[in-house]
Symmetry: C2
Subunit: 189 residues, 2 copies
């Protein structure tokens, strides 16, 4: 999506270790009009998908998931992140290893809000190695729900997340696919 690619080129910063900083419009400071456009694009792409629930994970996936859900007339389920598996009953949980922070977290949702009748569209800010996506897909599977697609605002292609998700038969849709990430030189697919 050209709008997002241009914004990344203009304002994205490449840090050491292949980290793309988009704090100025997507994560820390939110460009609300831009995110609404991204949500509208996702809503168009999945208009015929039959999705009846958006799933995301706190915190940086929430704004795009909300924008998408609002446009599609759907609720958003926000998976919570915890440090350990020591959690009450009544929830589905899955481990997620964070590439950025080098720590393992647990993502969880209440069983009350995810069940077999749900057709879930997962929305997150980044797709890199796909660890968060696989964790969220596990929650969907545990509930006996189905997944109609995985959406990332920004995909870092070379880290292989797309293949891991596609192997599960889930459609992957990214608004910007980054092929090469170097300071001053960001290449898109």
């Amino acid at each position: 999506m050209k709008l997002l690619e241009d914004k990344i080129k203009q304002e994205g910063k490449v840090l050491e270790g292949g980290i793309l900083k988009v704090d100025g419009f997507l994560n820390h400071r939110l460009d609300t009009a831009l995110i609404a456009e991204l949500g509208a694009d996702v809503a168009r792409e999945f208009a015929a998908s039959g999705a009846n629930l958006i799933l995301t994970v706190e915190a940086s996936g929430i704004s795009l998931a909300y924008a998408t859900g609002l446009k599609m007339g759907l609720p958003v389920l926000v998976a919570k992140k915890h440090k350990s598996l020591n959690i009450s009953d009544g929830v589905y949980t899955a481990p997620v290893f964070s590439f950025t922070h080098k720590t393992e977290n647990v993502v969880l949702v209440s069983r009350e809000y995810l069940s077999a009748e749900h057709k879930v569209l997962i929305v997150d800010d980044f797709l890199a190695s796909g660890n968060a996506a696989i964790g969220l897909l596990s929650l969907v599977e545990q509930a006996g729900a189905s997944c109609v697609g995985f959406v990332a605002a920004i995909e870092k292609s070379e880290q292989g997340g797309r293949t891991r998700i596609a192997e599960k038969g889930v459609k992957v849709y990214s608004l910007a696919r980054i092929k090469e990430l170097r300071a001053g030189d960001i290449k898109f697919e």
Copy 2:
């Protein structure tokens, strides 16, 4: 606001220790259409405030802050929560004691995105004792910015947060003000 009060009466659950659970529409599962209505109400209330930035804190403040910012044509700055003060330069930080979790966290924002020219509208999901609000106000003060108001979706009046914020000369606006909280009997101001 009647729309939100009705929703709380219908779907809110009162837990032990005076905790109001609104997981089904405001926190965990987001009722996107309802939250858009709440954001539109806040935007009307502060239309003439001169606000040029919305400030909230992750994770459960994000959706209402985004809805408000989108309606007002403003960006949203999302303060991050950390466990300790051991954080890099380039940020403003303030301690916040969590009533629900009985722990002290730190909230922080990048100095890059908050400065003296900002007129800040703070938006959060809850106002109880006001600890989070005071922490966020401290970030605004440290930056030399001004605060045009504090908004909570739900206020628990008896915990005194409103007075603490008003004492700093900041207008407080809540979409639902709870006077008494008992299972099966929620009274509004």
